[in-house]
Structures are given as C-alpha cells and as structure tokens.
C-alpha cells in the first residue's frame, strides 16, 4: 500500500470519532468538518515524514481543534500566529495524547453525530445523505451518483439538512439511559434505511447499489462497537451482512433480478455469511428477542440452505409469526404468506394476503406475490391483472422487467396449444 492509500484509510477510520469530538467542541457541523479537513491537510504533510501516529483519531482531533482555534485567533488578529512547529511536535507527544482526550466521551460523541444525522424532522433521504457526507465522508459527488441525482441537487439537499439541524436544538449534554437507547434505535433505523436504499434502489436504473450497502454495514459495525452488548445491534449488523452476502447472485449477467429460489448459491459470499451467523448466535444468547433478531434469523435460515429446496420454510413461517406479533405490519404478513405458500400451497397463502389489499394497494411486491400465487393456481386472467399492477408500481426497470417475465409466461400458458 502506498502512502496515500494508508493515510486515506486512516482518515476514513478516524473520521466518525474525530468529527464527533470536534462537534462537541464547536457545536457546529460545518465548523467540525472544516476543522477535520484542516487536520487532514496537516496530516498529509506530517504523516508521510513521521510515520503514522499511534492513534490517528486523537491526532486529528487535537490538531483539528488547535488549527480551528488558530483560525479564530488569526481572525481576531489580537495574538500572533503559533508556529507550525508546535503542531509538528505533536508526533512525539502522541503517547499521552490518548489519555489527554477523554476516551469515555467518544461513545456519546459518535452516537450524537450519528443521531444528528437522523434527526426526526429530516426526511429519510436527507438523513441518509447527511450520514454519508458527514459520518462516512463520501463526497457530494459520490453521494449524488449513488442517488442518481445531480451534484448540485445533492449539495442542496445536504445544505438544507444542515440548516435544519442548526436550527433544531441538539442536546450536547451526556444523554441519560433512556435517551441513549432512543438514539441508538433511531440510528439503527437510519442505517437499515441506508442499506435498503442500496439493496433495492428506490428509483433510477441501478437496482443494487453496493457502495451504499457497504457503507451501511460499516456504520452498523461502528454502532455495534459503541454498544457491544446490544443484541438488536448485533442482529442489525448480522442482517445486513447476510443480505449483502447474496449480492453477487441477485442479478444475472444482463442485470435482471434473480429471485432467492433461483440464485446460484455458490456465488453467495461465505465470509459474510459466517460473520452474520456468528453475530446472530451472539444476539440470540441474550434471549431478548427483537425485530432485527428475528429478521436476521430468517436471513440465517436461507443462508443455511445449500439449495433452495433445502430451505426450512416451517422455521421461516414461525419466525415471521413471531415478527408479526412483535411488530405487526402487512408487509411482514405478506412475507409470511410466501413461506405459507411453500408449506401449504398457493391457496392458503392467497387467503392470507387477500385481506391485505386495502393496506398494500400501492406496494409493488404485494402484486408481484399475488400474481405469482394466482399463476400457480391457474387463474391466468387475474394473475395478469396483478402483474400489470406490479409493473405500474415498479421502482426500477429491473423490477418491471422481472414482472414482465412472469407476465410473458402467463400469456404463453394461457394461449391454446
């Protein structure tokens, strides 16, 4: 690895902690980001000469804070500039740097930073964009690319979000236990949203946007590191790892969607699966079930099946049943119906999903599943209506193309031989 590569990795690794601490000092997101930027510039000058600091985050926090303070002084012009030498000496004083920076506050610093990004007043798209910009350090251009919007539109979106946050009251004191738990839950939800944004893009051409998924996994790991004893955070990380493990098999060479049943499971990433399963194991030990744990367990059941026909659908049916009780939602019921169809046939599944029509009347997957079940029951005309509806509701060309494939099959089957 060359200098730039390891320095860049160190910046990325240190960023959440450093920006979190700088935010605590400055109480202003832009100022914290600027201070971090400045510290990185200094680091680019010093690190290649002096070698990497033992604690890059601590180095960047201290230098970032000092340079920002210098800036204030410079503007006031009341005091002479401190010599650059002061900063270059930091390398030697590094060993006690870590002690001087109160490490116990890091956790709340980072949580606050993450939490600010998912301020309840911000729409989901702004939350995600802000987290990618501020916490992950992606450039506006990269984020715009991932969301398939122009750079100026994304710049605006992020600026608006920041203005919102500056106006909103963000508490800087150390949160209490209840508030901390609420923040963790909000951040987890944002990370899940970010992953889903990458997993099934909500618009545009790209059906899967891997960088978003990878960034979500990185943030989940970060949150888990901050709260290593939280089974739901273990499970969230596991869920993302397990879902992401299938990425290489989810689209065929032409970019068409390949359903779970038809995926070449040899393409699944075994390393991600192993880590995901280990984390599910670890979470379940706590015997404090939660929605992420159930979902991760379901994903784990799929991961355990070497072939689609080996899938333990009874277990999946049961897990969705638990999820329905923990977190009732028509989408969960729809998912359980898929397991029921495997276990008891399409008629039983159809009976479960038909009452969901009023709630899921605008949901692509509802009509996809319904069409599939009707097709299995030989009710071609109704299947066609459902598939037509699904196509109208599809978010991406890949989704629409996938349904069209089914539709073609219905048409072919319904034609007299």
């Amino acid at each position: 690895m060359n200098d730039i590569a390891w320095i860049d990795a160190a910046f990325r690794g240190a960023r959440p902690q450093a920006i979190g601490a700088l935010l605590r000092y400055f109480r202003d997101l832009d100022q914290a980001e600027e201070a971090f930027q400045e510290a990185c510039l200094r680091a680019l000058k010093h690190w290649p000469v002096n070698g990497p600091p033992r604690d890059p985050a601590a180095w960047l926090i201290l230098v970032g804070r000092n340079t920002a303070l210098d800036d204030v002084r410079r503007r006031n012009k009341s005091q002479p500039l401190p010599p650059d030498k002061l900063i270059s000496d930091l390398g030697d004083a590094e060993s006690d740097l870590a002690e001087r920076l109160d490490s116990s506050r890091y956790r709340d610093d980072m949580l606050r930073l993450l939490f600010i990004c998912c301020h309840p007043e911000l729409p989901a798209t702004q939350q995600i964009a802000l987290a990618l910009r501020v916490v992950s350090g992606l450039t506006v251009n990269e984020i715009a690319h991932a969301f398939l919007v122009s750079e100026s539109a994304m710049e605006q979106r992020i600026t608006r979000a920041k203005r919102h946050i500056a106006a909103a009251k963000v508490p800087y004191e150390t949160p209490g236990a209840v508030e901390r738990a609420e923040r963790v839950a909000a951040v987890a939800a944002m990370i899940y949203l970010l992953f889903n944004e990458g997993y099934s893009a909500s618009g545009g051409d790209a059906h899967i946007r891997l960088p978003l998924c990878e960034e979500a996994i990185r943030l989940a790991r970060l949150l888990l590191k901050l709260f290593p004893g939280e089974p739901e955070i273990m499970a969230l990380t596991a869920l993302l790892l397990l879902q992401h493990s299938r990425a290489p098999a989810r689209l065929d060479a032409d970019g068409a969607i390949v359903l779970l049943d038809d995926q070449d499971r040899r393409l699944w990433n075994r390393e991600l699966i192993a880590e995901g399963l280990a984390l599910v194991d670890k979470a379940l030990r706590h015997r404090r079930p939660g929605p992420y744990q159930i979902q991760a367990a379901i994903s784990g059941v799929h991961a355990h099946a070497a072939r689609a026909e080996d899938t333990d659908w009874a277990e999946i049916d049961q897990l969705y049943g638990v999820l329905e009780r923990l977190q009732p939602s028509p989408v969960v019921t729809l998912n359980r119906a898929v397991a029921v169809a495997k276990l008891h046939g399409p008629a039983a599944a159809l009976a479960i999903i038909e009452p969901l029509a009023p709630q899921l009347g605008g949901y692509f997957h509802f009509f996809g599943v319904k069409g599939g079940l009707l097709m299995q029951l030989g009710r071609a005309e109704e299947a066609r209506t459902a598939f037509d509806r699904a196509i109208a509701l599809a978010h991406t060309p890949a989704e629409a193309a996938h349904i069209r494939l089914h539709l073609d099959r219905v048409l072919k089957d319904s034609q007299p031989a």
Partner: protein, 121 residues
C-alpha cells in the same frame, strides 16, 4: 522452535481498506508465507473476524460472559486454542469449562479464514 507471529492493527483503519488494498496486503504477505510453506515451515494461519463478533469470558468460580473483545491492558496474551464448534454457544461453553476456578480471561473470536499449514508439530 515454533514461533507464533501475532497480528495487530487498528480495526477501524483495516475496515476502511478497499478490497484492492486488502488484496494487496494479503498478496504481499503471501510472498513471505509462500516461501515458508514451500520449505514445510508454515504452520496454521488464521484471520479472525472483527472484534464485534467477539465474546470475552472472565474466569472465576463461575466464569462471566461479556460481549465484546478482551480490552484490558494489564494482562498479556499467553496462548490460544483453535476449536471446531457448531455454535458460538458451544465455544463459549468450552472456554467457561476451562476457566472455571481459574483467574484470567479468554476471548472467543470466530475465525474468518483458516489454513492448516504444513509445518510438522
């Protein structure tokens, strides 16, 4: 004489490596281990999963299981076991059994990559 070479690094930094960075580091290491393997001098090689997958067992009358990696600095790494278990629970049970009535601690960490090696015992 057998020597263990233990790898330490900042997980946040390694986690920020791109796939290409990671591959480059592994390739560079493989150049070294390849030579040793050819001479029958390379023992088992393991890459561990992130510390987020770790559980620590504090030995004692009834060993205590804590989520997360071993984080104390006053104790030193003195040895390790590799065990094949069906679940994390099983591995924890092994460590609890070993640690019962002892002091010290064990960290149980799933192995991400394992090569058994060729060096004679």
């Amino acid at each position: 004489m057998l020597y263990a070479i233990l790898c330490y690094h900042d997980e946040d930094v390694v986690g920020a490596w791109t796939k290409a960075d990671d591959d480059a580091v592994l390739a560079k290491r493989a150049a070294v281990t390849g030579k040793l393997a050819a001479q029958g001098r390379l023992g088992p090689v393991a890459r561990l999963m992130p510390t987020s997958a770790a559980v620590t067992i504090r030995s004692g009358g009834e060993p205590l299981v804590i989520d997360g990696p071993f984080a104390e600095t006053k104790e030193q790494l003195l040895g390790f076991y590799l065990v094949d278990c069906a679940s994390l629970e099983e591995a924890i049970e092994v460590a609890r059994e070993m640690g019962r009535g002892e002091s010290g601690a064990f960290e149980v960490r799933p192995v991400r990559l394992f090569r058994p090696g060729v060096a004679p015992a």
